[in-house]
Symmetry: C2
Amino acid sequence: MELSTRIDAALAEAMQVGQGLSLSAEAVPQRLSATLDHAVMSGGARIRPTILLSVALACGDDRPGLADTAAAALELVHCASLVHDDLPAFDNAETRRGRPSVHRAFGEPLAILAGDSLIFLGFEMLTRGAGDCPDRALRMMRVLAQRSGMPGGICAGQGWESEPIVNLRAYHRAKTGALFIAATQMGALSAGQEAEPWEELGARIGEAFQVADDLKDALLPTEETGKPAGQDAAHGRPNAVAEMGVAGAMRHLKDILGGAIASIPACPGEAMLARMVRAYAERLTPVDLRARVAAAK
Amino acid sequence: MELSTRIDAALAEAMQVGQGLSLSAEAVPQRLSATLDHAVMSGGARIRPTILLSVALACGDDRPGLADTAAAALELVHCASLVHDDLPAFDNAETRRGRPSVHRAFGEPLAILAGDSLIFLGFEMLTRGAGDCPDRALRMMRVLAQRSGMPGGICAGQGWESEPIVNLRAYHRAKTGALFIAATQMGALSAGQEAEPWEELGARIGEAFQVADDLKDALLPTEETGKPAGQDAAHGRPNAVAEMGVAGAMRHLKDILGGAIASIPACPGEAMLARMVRAYAERLTPVDLRARVAAAK
């Protein structure tokens, strides 16, 4: 089965639970329910769950149901973080994925609640998906919680932006890297493997994503990214393009991806994973972006 | 050991983890770390974890470490909900527990992140506390997630306030009742008992709490509740005092507590739990409040 089919089905099942679709409509706050749908079912690239399932497959994927649930849980937490990051207190983004951001469409109260609800739903789905592997599920939940919260998860990453002095390494690793590390580690855990050897691959994919995002933020107009352009410069956030220029950032991205491929632990699906990272690199740097970089040289 | 001692120790352990106190200071965003402390260590009454541990004790408390962790996790989620509820998008509360609310003290971005981080920390602590009972831990996490998120948890409860038509029963049950149900059910589960028979006790304590809170909101000044007075009337929220008057609300409160005591499932600590509910009733209606009600009659 295509990974995207598995991810879509797992997310649909999660929405069924979170939106209370099996309950009578008057038992469920319908606007908040619609907000969850808007936050999750808006055509995201599903990069993190794709990586999670790719690693699970590379490790044998002996509990595909558990892997699917983990993929959905990770994407729900990622969507929650996007909803909260878009709030006026942070990016004040008007659009996301080419549609109005959640708070623009539904107001701030429901956006805050949607983020919170999606976090809880992610953990609920993992308790439901545990099946005959409660220990695996618990280890995955610990990874998800640690890579999302404090002191080293995406919340910490966002928190660094409120510090007078920023530890740039900790900032990037937490803000962008953490959920990619969760992806590789949860994928391995779902198939009964250890988490630790998979940390570096996740961290490097996260770094690559950050640099590619910096390139897109600097070079592409809003219509193509689906979110406001030039946000890094506008908010004075550190970014690779400001540090090393467009061509330098592009070289740096290639180096990181080379390191990512070299870091893949020995496993049955090693070659398949290397192909995935290469395909992922193409996806991170669309043809149009590469042409612009060539023109800018 | 006193329940409050157990709860304090479990929360201190959770803060150790969430604030990254074992890491070097420069690896952790210190302002967000301080925000977590402000949100949790502000002298709350710890009612929900006290109920959780009381039920655990009544059921034999054969895994006290797991019960303690559950008590901390529940309180962390409760504190998270308070931080988010106080935000300008909701109550816009300036004070909480007699101190500045989190967003007043640290700003909105860190308040939003603190709430999110505390949710993740609650689940992380439960994965750490599972020990030799992964199945019990998973069931407790499912209860915690369901009673916190959508479609029936405290997020749903808050969400009802954004609906054009409010289902009052679902609203109250979700907004105030849900975490009390989590308290009784997680207490029972921590000691290896079934959750279901404990739902009614939690729901009734939650109802009692709601009515007592409505009485306090209507009758007590800000200095005594530690939060702004008259918020229900100011926000046009449904409340028992508006519906049945002060004396009627007081009678209703007594009836609910009688029902709560009657609903306690047969267990070794049944009599002890009944005493706890009575003591809790005293606490819900401080002498001063009772005197005011007598004067208002």
